[in-house]
Amino acid sequence: MSAVRSRRREGRDAWLLVLPALLPVMLFSVYPLVYGVLLGFTDAAAGLGVETHFNGLDNYVELAGNELFWKSFKIGLVWAFSVTILQFLASLGLALLLNLDLRLRWLARTLALIPWAMPPVIIAIMWQLMLNPSYGPVNRALDAIGLPGGVNWLGEAAVALPVVIVVGVWAGMPQTTVTLLAGLQSVPAELNEAAAIDGASTWRRFWHVTLPALRPIITAITTLDLIWNFNSFALVFVLTAGGPGGTTMLPSLFAYNEAFRYGHFGYAAAMGNVMVVLIGAFLILYLRAQSRRRFQ
């Protein structure tokens, strides 16, 4: 009897403690999110006295024929996958090095965190200066070793996207490295030692012992990286604003322009819905494939 009462009292206490967090979250994040999804089925637009109507699937029919949006969506996929994969490979290499007993390891571990400590806007400004066609150190270094400098890295359609991807890799490497390093440190050393005594080479030990032990962490961090990269905005917005000629127009930038430059709120929300559905579907497939692999 008293157990039931104390359980009930506990429930009430929990609600009291959580309520101050719950109320603002409901008002300023659950409600806007639901509202945002619904807006994707309306013709909402900016301006005084403009009435909003539900228009069913009209936005999506229009979107299906909007070549610029699909081009931007494709750029977004190329960006998100390239950055995530390159970031993962580069970070894995760095994490393996930082896990070795090298001299000055503490210094390297500190320096490796630098990009994390910088806000995306500053990273974008810094790389603009780095890549400046006339004063930038990148072109000067190319000149110095006799390669053709003078490339306008962020201004030429052919090179802008790859260059922006490199900056994206730079900006996100610390999180991935730190996560993988933590994973490496949790791999039992005995496993590797046992394999070494059995005569396994470094490469075979990495492939058959370290990598399988890391797999859950790899799945988690690549999934998060992919979501963050696909939704990222500030870095590319300040670096190129989507240019030159729309070659770096990520879907988040495209939808931002649609909403806040042209005032098409409903249409932009519809783009957001399409992005959520497609990226969500991909994530489900990816996570399912990974978990199946683990149980084999």
Binding site: G11, D13, I122, F233, V238, Y256, V276, G280
Partner: protein, 286 residues
């Protein structure tokens, strides 16, 4: 057999070690050079920056770029706005998240599943879906273009992550300690104040610093919600500084950028030991 394996391993490491150092050096150049470049640019005079054959290092430590950047009234106002927004957000989030995190860990309720689901969902949704309704909502209640509106948005969107981090720290405190204190006759409040809070302090500091840095650095919500130049935050002001002055005052731009990331650089320096030790790794987001 083992001796054979060992000798070949030694032979291999004689080649491998220098290669490992070389690779590490390449990584360090890639990761640290841009900041080094920003640092040297901030100390260069306009003449040095224009001349094609100036070296990488500045001729002397010239602080004029820094003083000029600080003197620019709008940057100073913007830094003040950023500070106000970040401090208020951090205070609100910490006050709200602490009891909630405690309740979610210590009491078995259905709220917990909801909270976890919400934390995950808030990571997946593209910001465009959230910012349009938020913009309309804040416009309706007259909070667009105000720092208060920005604080509200930041607080709500920092909450899931702070809650998640704090839950981890609360869960790490052995519940037996609390039970022992209760057996000794201490009331719940007394137990919380004497036992839980002191143990939670480091986690609380880390969580609030994260909230502070995230609000200090945030760009997208500010871009949409703030149009008035007097209300803009530091990232906004810097992004506009680039647009307005562009190439002309590279040195000042670099100086201002450096000053703007000083708080987060100091913060990361402070926690770097714990970060690389992997202690925070589960609870960290960029």
């Amino acid at each position: 057999m083992t001796t054979l394996a060992r000798t070949s391993a030694v032979g291999r490491s004689r080649i491998a070690r220098p290669l490992q150092y070389l690779a590490l050096l390449a990584y360090m150049c890639f990761l640290a050079f841009p900041l080094l470049f920003l640092l040297t640019t901030a100390f260069k005079t306009p003449r040095e920056l224009q001349s094609p054959d100036a070296g990488i290092l500045p001729e002397r430590l010239d602080w004029t770029n820094f003083t000029a950047a600080i003197d620019k009234a709008d940057l100073f106002t913007a830094a003040g706005n950023s500070l106000l927004v970040a401090v208020t957000t951090t205070a609100i989030v910490t006050a709200v998240a602490l009891p909630a995190a405690y309740a979610l860990v210590r009491f078995r309720t259905r709220l917990r599943a909801f909270a976890t689901g919400w934390i995950l969902l808030s990571q997946v949704f593209p910001f465009i879906l959230i910012i349009i309704p938020l913009f309309l909502l804040l416009k309706d209640i007259g909070l667009v273009n105000t720092l208060l509106g920005l604080v509200l948005v930041y607080a709500v969107w920092s909450l899931p992550f702070s809650l998640w981090m704090l839950q981890g720290y609360v869960a790490a405190i052995p519940v037996e300690l609390e039970e022992a204190s209760a057996v000794d006759g201490a009331g719940r409040l007394k137990t919380l104040a004497r036992i839980v809070l002191p143990l939670l302090a480091p986690g609380l500091v880390a969580t609030s610093l994260f909230t502070f840095i995230n609000s200090w650095n945030e760009f997208f919500f500010a871009l949409v919600l703030i149009q008035d130049p007097d209300m803009q935050t530091l990232p906004l002001a810097l992004a506009r500084f680039v647009g307005a002055e562009g190439q002309v005052q590279l040195g000042q731009l670099a100086a201002a950028a450096l000053l703007a990331c000083l708080p987060s650089l100091v913060f990361f320096l402070l926690i770097q030991k714990r970060l690389t030790a992997g202690l925070l790794s589960g609870a960290v987001k960029g």
